[in-house]
Symmetry: C3
Subunit: 676 residues, 3 copies
């Protein structure tokens, strides 16, 4: 791992740049405009394989060379992407079998990211172009780093060869076929496999254990592929060059949550720096929540600053920013720990399917209001950069994410059970965000529980005894755990536990249950009626409710408002050793989640400011131990609040701020304070 600060000593602005795509002669004019807007880095070459290698083993570095030279001349750094995520026509023509076979059939050529990343021909040609490209550019002084591939995923590749590798993967994982049959429960519906030769494709399986194992195997393919690219590049890369990748997030028309097709933590291990792509709603729908979520997740992969490799400039057609929003967004990235904010892309494409997904310039190349707002961002970056050295965010709360639980719950959707892991994460995260309670997003494999006062585990559906035991001992030693519904339900093979639910956390949580049903007309009931005023006690009629029975010393925070389920608890709180376990047996509204946090703030050593959304506070500590406080107004109206921190100074106006002083933020405005 390389230290990001050796590459990014100041906050940087970047763009993706495609000299290949633009038929006008623009290079010198573009560089002039970039310089005037403070663009410090361009990303090139990803997605241009057919231009780079127009025919097999014939190479054309025209665009690469001229861009590298020109950028170098202007003092703009270049990050070179490997072009492997979009294959040239000749590769498909020669080896049609490079297209992935998925449960929906064999992919067609045309769209990007449709090949099988394990296919040997694809890998052969990929290796060759990577070696040729990196060898060609590695000594160029403009090149500061590499991006391996682009938003890599497994694309659900599931053909016979993948299947074969999966079986080998299972053979390694299990001592015997007998053991596999038993752990996965394959006797069900006559799916028992009594000879490895008989192993059927996972595609048609109705066995959650097998399906989830296969999805987990697919995650490992992505990890292996990225590592393989990193290893290839390292044969050429200079010491002062980094390797990164642009991870993206679960896409629900925008970056919504944990990426289900990549294990970010495992896949990030071979990288030097973490890069991410973040896209989000804008205009009146801009909340900053996705920027914060992705940042809180990216920062914790290597526990250091990260790069925003792609985010929206003009963005998709419905996202055209209001005045000020672009600045608000860029500073929000920085506040979460980003060292660079790079836009996709410099000028908008004239052909293809993304002509309405626009860059800093429109297709007319005229610098407009978006370009001007980027210039303003650069001004702010320059002013605050000196104070941002070593800026790092530290939080006392964390959400622990578990890929296996995510995959297992995804599989349950096939059978009509729609508990969505990312919705559960967002339920807990969004409430924290709105309350300005800082939070890390950390993978189960990487989390250091004792670092936190509060750990939230939403829907920990499928984990080993070991993981649950660690959480329990964390609680006993003083930690607070909030368990989301279904936690503990099944083991690491998605076998429902034979113990009383919620399995090994029963005692720590002080609850048991053996029945669950749909909420339908069930609401929640808050026994402390006064506090409940602002809560939305309704439950989604199609969501699950667990019929919890609390132990003697367990406090019921919420029970069910239903003629037949009123005797059961819905959300409980129990002391266990020095700590506290909260168990949430339903999918409550965020207002209820906030009440849980407030309950913990009242009872435990947890803190939250009085200020809340639409004013968002994000903060960190710089190398000199100074606190930097970012205040954002995520609304179209002026917002005022009282300064709750110690005395500080506004980094841009140099005006001082005192405790309890009133602060006013303009619409979509911001303020940045230094407390030293």
């Amino acid at each position: 791992m390389k230290n990001i600060e050796s590459f990014f000593t100041e906050l940087a602005l970047g763009v993706a740049y495609y000299d290949e795509y633009i038929k006008e002669e623009r290079l010198q004019e573009d560089i002039k405009l970039m310089k005037e807007a403070g663009i410090g880095l361009v990303r090139i070459a990803e997605s241009t394989w057919s231009t780079l290698e127009p025919q097999p083993d014939t190479y054309n570095f025209y665009h690469i060379d001229r861009v590298l030279d020109a950028m170098h001349g202007a003092g703009i750094k270049v990050m070179v992407g490997t072009p492997t995520y979009a294959i040239p026509p000749w590769l498909f023509k020669r080896h049609p079998e490079v297209m992935a076979e998925t449960p929906e059939g064999v992919n067609q050529y045309g769209h990007r990211q449709k090949m099988d990343i394990t296919n040997k021909d694809y890998l052969f040609y990929s290796e060759r172009i990577i070696r040729k490209l990196v060898e060609h550019v590695c000594d160029h002084p403009a090149v500061v780093g590499y991006q391996v591939d682009n938003e890599t995923k497994h694309y659900d590749t599931a053909g016979p060869e993948v299947q074969e590798k999966f079986i080998k993967f299972l053979q390694k994982k299990f001592n015997t076929l007998e053991e596999l049959n038993d752990k996965f429960g394959l006797d069900y519906w006559s799916n028992r496999v009594n000879d490895w030769e008989d192993f059927p494709s996972a595609i048609g399986s109705i066995n959650s254990s097998l399906n989830t194992a296969f999805k987990g195997f697919q995650l490992s393919l992505v990890k292996d592929f990225l590592k393989w690219q990193c290893d290839l590049i390292r044969e050429y890369a200079r010491d002062d060059q980094f390797i990164t990748h642009n991870f993206d997030y679960d896409w629900r028309d925008y970056s919504f949550g944990v990426q289900k097709d990549v294990h970010h933590y495992e896949a990030s291990l071979p990288l030097d720096l973490i890069g991410i792509d973040v896209y989000h709603p804008s205009q009146d729908e801009l909340t900053g929540c996705e920027i914060a979520f992705c940042g809180d997740s990216a920062r914790n992969l290597k526990h250091q600053p990260y790069l925003v490799i792609e985010t929206q400039a003009q963005g998709h057609v419905g996202w055209l920013h209001y005045p000020g929003q672009l600045k608000l967004q860029a500073l929000s990235h920085v506040a979460s720990g980003a060292s660079m904010v790079a836009y996709w892309h410099w000028h908008s494409l004239h052909n293809g399917c993304e002509t309405y997904w626009k860059g800093i310039l429109s297709q007319d190349f005229i610098p407009g209001r978006t370009y001007k707002e980027v210039q303003e961002i650069n001004e702010v970056f320059k002013k605050i950069s000196p104070y941002m050295k070593g800026y790092m965010v530290e939080n006392s709360a964390a959400i622990m994410i578990d890929m296996h639980s995510l995959l297992a719950l995804e599989d349950m959707k096939k059978y009509g059970h729609d508990l969505d892991y990312n919705m559960e994460i967002r339920r807990y995260y969004d409430a924290l965000y709105a309350m300005n309670m800082g939070c890390d997003i950390v993978h189960q494999e990487d989390i250091k529980l004792n670092q936190y006062k509060l750990v939230i585990v939403p829907a920990l559906y499928s984990v080993s005894d070991d993981v649950l035991d660690k959480l329990v001992s964390y609680t006993k030693s003083g930690g607070i755990v909030i368990y989301g519904m279904r936690s503990g339900f099944s083991d690491e093979h998605v076998k429902v536990r034979t113990e009383q639910q919620p399995g090994r956390i029963t005692k720590s949580c002080g609850v048991t249950y053996s029945q669950f049903t749909l909420a339908k007309r069930t609401n929640l009931k808050n026994p402390k009626s006064v506090q409940g005023e602002k809560e939305d006690l309704r439950l989604d009629s199609k969501s699950l409710i667990e019929l919890l029975k609390p132990s003697e010393n367990t406090e019921t925070l919420y029970s069910y408002d239903h003629p037949h389920w009123k005797e059961y608890s819905a959300i409980t709180l129990a002391k266990d050793g020095g700590g506290t376990s909260v168990y949430v047996g339903c999918c409550p509204d965020k207002t209820v989640i906030k009440q849980i946090y407030k309950e913990l703030i009242n009872k435990e050593d947890l803190k939250a400011p009085d200020i809340s959304f639409p004013i968002i506070i994000r903060q960190g500590i710089n190398r000199d131990g100074q606190k930097i406080v970012f205040m954002f107004n995520y609304s179209g109206k002026i917002q005022t609040c009282q300064w709750e921190e110690e005395n500080g100074v506004n980094l841009l106006t140099h005006v001082k701020v005192k405790s309890s002083q009133n602060i006013s933020l303009s619409p979509w405005g911001y303020a940045i304070y230094l407390i030293s």
Copy 2:
């Protein structure tokens, strides 16, 4: 046919039991709990082929033997299912072509019921495992009977071999190709087949006659398959063992209506006893209507009691019963004529896709409130069994169902015409059920019209002249027929009749029409305004309306409330000979259907109690000629009513009940009376 009473002398409770699926050692503990709950029968072995025959021609009877011995030791009877509905991986691996080819493509391996039940390899291996299994168990004293396969259907198998058989089927049915072309109208869109060699696959056809014939042919495949299994078993079965099958119903997230993929009547002929699987909404949506419908249908297949082989214990996730509901349901089955109520299943599965479809015990094996309610059911069963000997339901009304009409209307849906045969059946049935007017559901091929006072034929879309003529002569001789819309429209080959509509029943019904359209903004109008108070006169805007012209002596019960259609009748009543024909030219609300019944009660020799839903009355006569009256409260509130029958006695409390006395039923409660 064997008499069910030789096997089930008392009301029985049963469960499905899968020793193969459960990795814990549970057998003795399970049997102890079963005995305490009065479980008298377990069903085993269906769906376990891969455990029974782990490799081709290698058998393992471990689970079979230990369960048979243990059950026998405890006095619990065992029904053995043939395991053929879920094939083992090795069979698929050796013979991938056993998977059915359907209009959607070739099925994948994994899910159950995806094979081609006519494939010769499938049949070869099926025969071998059936013979091995039945030979192995047939002499065991615990074995009282067999279930052939499981919820068998044709799974839309339509590959080339099925196609070939279909052509042979057509060749038998029609004297010449010319005749087929003419009856089916294949000249349309150049589909005329002039040489049998040219016969194209039915999959792409847009000819309703051909499509419906093919669907009818597929029904015959199910019949043949079940008969073939019965014949195999009979080579081994003892005289004191029965053969049954668990028929299921049209599935619309629950057992909704007539199964469109099996001709229950024809398929039931080779069986000794009728078994059915019934699943239905629960909690506030529990009405008992599906229990009654399935029962009224099953009882009439062999005109004797039947077995409920599967019904819900905890059920699907949204069906978890309220206190009392499980008991209400079990007694409702009995009231319809069931001799056994068996649950799917004993304990809930730990793997697979049905872990949320739970049995009597949850995955934690702890006897909970569901188990306890089963114990209570056993107590009631024991008390009433002596009086239930020879219990048989006799009704004066019947709904006649016609599979060909169902299939033809299904085909019409492809062209955007959504008249749903089962919706039509339920329209008429549900109104009868709510009014406590007992009703048989009888197949057209089996009905004895003269046995009934009232026969309802919903949407008799495609039948021969002969069927219509029989209905007309039944009317003439004093019967009442209610014809649902579209009745008589097309002949048995789905050729629209060239006579004036409604074809051969025109005269009997005293109506004609030659135009029909969509209801859109058309409502019904009841000429007798007083009676119409409680009716919902709206029509679904997308439903058909026929523009009926009544004959001189025909009474218009309802006309259309629409500026241009007001001159036409919607529902008519005509006397024909000694009887009455009601013709319904639209899809009215159930409240309108009830008015039709009330009209008939006023005018004809029909009867209904004053008590109606949510109080449900079901009754029958036992061997001693005593009337048993079941009263059910299908609501969460206390219900009271006046006893309308002769003096009787409550079979559980032994308290007497007198005519006109007030009766009170607790929420989801019941009462059972004997009138001797």
Copy 3:
């Protein structure tokens, strides 16, 4: 081109007649009824290939001969259709590869119009049956003309052979592959093709330029196919026989707009006469708008009268006409310039998938109210025919349609951008129709701009510089152009222009813009509040808005009502030379479009009557220069208005009408006046 009046000297009624489909002996009776209803022409033979040629090279002219003879005997003319749109089973059996391969896979046999119209086997057999049929009938005195095929489209045929032809098409169109790559922007996502051998199938492409070119190529296949059939027939046809085709329209459950799978103008060139099929909502949804739209389009293909070859009799199940509507419809066709109104079909089919799509007679063959209304139409036709000689409609407004823009916008839908070309056309057309402003629909390739005072170009998304330049010079020389949104945006290769938007019309329109977004909560604002009273200023939240900046002398008709977009214009008007350019940067409600028209009426030399929908006025000039004015009441209520024309006479009642006199029209009624 032949003059339609040499074939249709009087207004004619027609029907499609299928002797092959009807198994009853009906011919003489049908002819008797036809004569009594004034049916003057029957169309036969299309879709009956399997009857005509029951086995390869074996022919059966039984039905053809008997119908021709009988019709001739009765003085009814016959139009013979080639039967090629529905292939016989034997052709599929022998050459399964005749079925089209589309992006959804290879079509199944059964439905019509599923073959590949470029397949050589299909063409071989088609040629043979066409030659045999036409040779057989061409000398028969009853035969007045031919219909080539039926509603031909390309059926999205896209298999390897079509692909190969497409590449040849591209090779002809572009000088070099380099040029193609650059114009289409294929570098994007590595799609650049560096050797023609590598050219991948267009099916998977995400390149709008390539996709649109492929769709354009598919249009040319239809054109070639129809021309090929015409050429074949001309080898046999007599001089007094015409060749036509029944074009149909974009189908959205009815004939909605421009057919996207045929270039009507180009495909019509080899025909003698234009024929169209028009189907539309009826009952309360009948507006006459589709009849007018299809007529205004058909009439302008050859600038002469046209034939309605198919329209609804009883129609689809929801379209059953109210009394009077059939007459209203027939006269509306005539008022648009139709010489014949033919119904699909004579009697309703007894089999197949269209039994609910009914003809003049129902399946019972009894002449009912539909038949009687046809008789009434005949009476009117007879009365007005003498005055309709040479009747031609002349309009001062035109909508210019551009197939390439339509195809390019269709492709954009794949990427989530739902601007619908036909919706845009209808937006402008429907407002004209409602205001009784006559309008021609003319193809871009054929339009003579100077013939019109007003030309509307909705969403002219993808055209060459040349087309835009012609529009601008038309404006300069005094014309009025209304440009719909997105006009000028991309060039003829769907490459977004690098000039400032709206490209080459910027100066003429006096507006520029470089950003656009979704309307969401944006409304329009009409600066002249008084006039705006009746407008609906809301925009569809999902529709695009362009943020227009007007030049100094440009008038803003509408701006945006939104906090951040209020500085931008939405709809502008600019004088350019002697004319006027209106630019519409959004998708406004029809009430706003009407305001634009009113604005132009106020300012320019445009006219519209004071009478508007539901009273519809359509008019034309006959051979003697007399004006014929049709007034239609498209509502179920009596409508009155003042006569705005000079004195005239009612052609049916012979009553005179004077200027300013009150006129009253009965529900769904009409009046026809002669002004000489």
